[in-house]
């Protein structure tokens, strides 16, 4: 799932400073799940904006909506009337949602209210960790299902760097596991440590050509 977090209020406020009526648009999928841009966050941000602008004597009118998936044109189209009513759209969707909205309503400024951070999973309630770097060349089969591309601070492919802390923690953050220690534990448990001994050739960074495109097999 895509993880995002809300931008600092100051930044958001600055981006809508010149607008009087703003549509605050949430997304009902990934960013709802990661508490960054669902209906609850839409309500909070809209209220906070009204309070801030009201206190500054520069009142703002907010409209609120949450689209099931902002990265789908068909779903975004459903809110076109609300968009038409507003001077600008403040989107709490991931970068993909913001761009879909911006493309569909290309005469309106569509402004991001969250920073899209990574693809991850919840470690516990309210805490998400990065799991996948969308490299386009998955080699989790060789690493016991732990991706060192993103879970190692240096993205190393052939084992840990020399900085692993006591207890198998990362040199740059004692709260984070060294990915290669995790790989080792996992492969050891499965009796497949030989996999870790194999040389991993330099990564094929061409696997995802930017901009990425995936064409599904024709049905």
């Amino acid at each position: 799932m895509i993880i995002a977090e809300r931008k600092p209020m100051e930044e958001i406020e600055e981006s809508v400073a010149e607008y009087k009526k703003v549509l605050v648009a949430g997304c009902g999928t990934c960013v709802t799940v990661c508490w960054a841009g669902g209906e609850k966050e839409v309500g909070i941000l809209a209220s906070q904006l009204r309070l801030a602008r009201g206190a500054a004597g520069n009142e703002i009118v907010t409209l609120e909506t949450t689209v099931e998936r902002q990265c789908e044109k068909e779903m975004v189209t459903e809110i076109k009337d609300k968009v038409a009513e507003a001077d600008a759209v403040l989107s709490l969707a991931c970068g993909s949602g913001v761009q879909t909205m911006a493309e569909l309503f290309d005469d309106k400024p569509v402004l991001p209210a969250v920073n899209t951070t990574f693809i991850g999973m919840p470690e516990r309630e309210g805490l998400w960790v990065e799991m996948c770097g969308a490299c386009g060349d998955c080699f989790l089969d060789r690493t016991g299902g732990v991706c060192p591309m993103v879970r190692c601070a240096k993205g190393l492919l052939n084992g840990p760097c020399g900085g692993t802390r006591k207890g198998g923690m990362c040199e740059i953050d004692p709260d984070k596991d060294c990915a290669w220690v995790l790989v080792h534990r996992r492969l050891e448990k499965q009796g497949r440590l030989d996999l870790m001994r194999e040389y991993v050739t330099p990564k094929n960074f061409r696997a995802v050509r930017r901009p990425g495109k995936v064409q599904a097999a024709k049905a």
Binding site: P202, K203, F205, R206
Partner: protein
């Protein structure tokens, strides 16, 4: 010509630079040949940086050779292969060895080169790179730390006046000029009007920036077709293709030289721009012929 390039740029005259392409390998004999041949005929020798994303002998290495042989090198730096730390370190080294001119470029994508699976760095872009050079010039690194000795680089960059659409390109040129450049080399251009418009645009912003029109001789119909097809930002007009088509077989190179020289004369006489940058890739030894035909020697 051992006058510093920066001084040349300040003078009224017509500036001429050309390129030395490093070889793919540790041998530098060919480069030395070209340096010896060209160093006194032009104001500056550009050394390409893994040109077309093909891994080669480093630009910086050839620049040092140029210095050793008494020429004036222009160090090309792209953002593709090095992050901001490596670029700064290289620039400090270059400066310590007398290299004084830097051409700040984005760099081609690795997709077009011979290491297609490589990770592209692009930690910075060309505008940020220009800022970086100025920061070093003020004796600081871009993290804000003071340096034991700063640099004093003359900063250049490149532009594509034939791009379509041109507007976004011009906005970027505008940012580069604001960041501070002493000269701009253009991508190969074949229409005087285009250079004129570009020069006007730049002069409007900053009169002091010198513009060197990019000259790439076209030596055959096939080459023209290939470039039109595959090199973004280059448009070879039909009249040039026609003229090449009429040339007798085996005279393509001569024809290309002739047409380039004609264009250089026009540029100089009509004061369309401040100089030229001649890129005769793979045929560096024939650059003097162009210069001669254009009356620049």
């Amino acid at each position: 010509m051992s006058t510093p390039f920066r001084e040349i740029l300040k003078k009224e005259g017509f500036v001429v630079t050309t390129e030395v392409g490093p070889e793919k390998g540790s041998s530098v004999s060919k480069a030395i040949e070209h340096i010896e041949l060209l160093k006194d005929k032009v104001h500056g020798l550009n050394v390409t940086d893994n040109q077309s994303s093909v891994m080669r002998y480093p630009s910086l290495g050839i620049c040092l050779l140029i210095k050793e042989h008494g020429g004036e090198p222009v160090l090309q730096v792209t953002c593709r292969d090095r992050n901001r730390m490596a670029i700064q370190a290289d620039l400090l080294f270059a400066h310590s060895r007398g290299v004084r001119n830097v051409l700040c470029l984005t760099g081609d994508s690795v997709d077009v080169g011979d290491h297609k699976e490589a990770k592209q760095v692009f930690d910075l872009d060309s505008v940020q790179l220009i800022h970086l050079v100025h920061t070093l010039n003020s004796a600081r690194d871009i993290a804000g730390n003071e340096l034991s000795g700063g640099t004093d680089f003359c900063v250049g960059t490149a532009a594509s006046p034939s791009s379509d659409p041109i507007e976004p390109q011009l906005i970027k040129v505008e940012k580069k000029i604001k960041a501070g450049v002493d000269f701009i080399q253009t991508q190969a251009v074949y229409e005087l009007d285009e250079i004129k418009r570009f020069t006007d645009f730049v002069r409007n912003m900053d009169e002091k920036v010198r513009i060197l029109a990019g000259i790439v001789p076209i030596i055959g119909v096939k080459m023209a077709a290939y470039m039109n097809e595959n090199v973004p930002g280059i448009v070879i007009p039909q009249r040039i293709i026609d003229e090449l088509a009429e040339a007798p077989k085996g005279t393509g190179v001569a024809k290309g030289i002739e047409m380039s020289a004609r264009m250089i004369r026009q540029l100089k006489e009509e004061r369309v721009c401040d100089g030229v940058h001649i890129m005769f890739i793979g045929r560096e030894e024939r650059v003097p012929e162009i210069l001669e035909a254009a009356g620049l020697v």
